[in-house]
């Protein structure tokens, strides 16, 4: 009886040793941080972080494949902000979350193929230009410009939704549709457009704000 026991101990030890060098296929430590690109523990029918990320990512990649925007001889001046991007849906969200992410992502990815005009900073720029021209501050290092940049294209868009609710089960269903359009600021031609749509169904008890 003795030998086999010793042997089995040795085998167990060897196995344990080998196990140490196998993939430790277990879940990680819990953390409050979750991946914003994946549904989290609180799931409802509204627009959530993974939707914001997915739609902006898809739109910016699509815009970069549009020759009029991303392959022009002169990089066009593009204005992207929430001014003409309307939320007509029943989802509560700050629409700047979408347009800001789109503008920043596109600006970083474009790498000079487009130029971005910060029309939402027009006031900041106008004030500094005045201070320089009044002589309150000096001219700094960059050459003076005749005026602020005009825009060639500007983003417009709309968020709409279609809700249906079963009062018996409390089940809620929502179809979300988000459209993005780039408009020629001379001719009002829509030079590029994109759509992102999805539907969700869940118990109607998640509160968004």
């Amino acid at each position: 009886m003795r030998r086999p026991y010793a042997l089995s101990v040795a085998i167990a030890a060897a196995l344990a040793l080998a196990a140490c060098q196998r993939v430790d296929n277990t879940a990680g430590a819990p953390t409050v941080y979750i991946d914003p690109g994946t549904s989290g523990p609180v799931k409802g029918v509204g627009i959530e972080s993974q939707d914001v990320i997915a739609m902006t990512d898809q739109m910016l990649r699509d815009m970069l494949s549009q020759p009029r925007l991303a392959n022009a001889a002169m990089p066009p001046n593009v204005i992207i902000d929430s001014e003409y991007f309307h939320n007509e849906s029943s989802s509560r969200l700050n629409k700047n979350s979408i347009t800001d992410r789109l503008r920043v992502g596109l600006n970083r990815a474009a790498a000079g193929r487009m130029q971005f005009v910060g029309r939402h900073y027009a006031d900041m720029v106008a004030k500094e230009r005045d201070l320089k021209r009044q002589g309150t501050v000096d001219k700094a290092t960059l050459p003076a410009a005749g005026a602020q940049k005009g825009g060639d294209y500007r983003l417009g868009g709309r968020i709409t939704s279609l809700d249906s609710r079963d009062p018996k089960t409390g089940m809620m269903q929502r179809y979300n549709q988000i459209i993005f359009e780039m408009v020629d600021l001379e001719t009002s031609e829509i030079v590029w457009s994109g759509i992102y749509e999805f539907a969700k169904a869940a118990q109607d008890d998640i509160i968004y704000r």
Binding site: Q50, A54, T56, R61, Q66, P67, A70
Partner: protein, 155 residues
């Protein structure tokens, strides 16, 4: 006539259940046999890599839950008019049930380094026994030389 026909039809239907499974048919054992894992890049020069992974320019189904449910029928890549890269993968749902998967693409430069942020997860609604296209575009143009698509089940 009706009386006679009825049982025959029944038999036929029964026989049909065994052989007349709707297309597509996925032979998963052969799919796994065809799967080709390549060694990853070795960190120690001159030694072989301890990592086996999907080759570049392929779809990696990373989720055991959908591994034997979906089959990637084809992948194609082409340059768009602006020089960015478009990849299209045709995914077949081999099951008789609705499946929801999501995929993302990482584009790499010619030295094998990730050349841009990975794309966001894009959802695919796969109806039973249908084939659906997953499509992704790169951000960069000349910098892109390869890609790797990762696919998992939507939860």
């Amino acid at each position: 006539m009706r009386r006679l026909l009825a049982p025959v039809l029944g038999l036929l239907l029964l026989g049909g259940c065994a052989s007349m499974e709707p297309a597509p048919h996925c032979d998963m054992s052969r799919i796994s046999g065809q799967r080709d894992l390549v060694p990853g890049p070795a960190m120690v020069p001159g030694e072989s890599s301890p990592l086996k992974e999907m080759p570049m320019n392929s779809v990696n189904i990373t989720d055991p839950a959908i591994m034997n449910k979906l089959y990637v029928r084809s992948i194609a890549a082409r340059r768009t008019a602006t020089g960015t890269v478009e990849v299209v993968a045709q995914v077949v749902n081999c099951t008789d049930f609705q499946q929801t998967a999501e995929a993302r693409t990482q584009f790499y430069d010619s030295t094998g380094v990730a050349s841009e942020p990975v794309s966001a997860w894009q959802r695919l609604h796969l109806s039973p026994r249908t084939s659906s296209a997953y499509r992704e575009l790169s951000m960069g143009d000349k910098t892109v030389d390869g890609y790797m698509i990762e696919m998992r089940e939507t939860k």
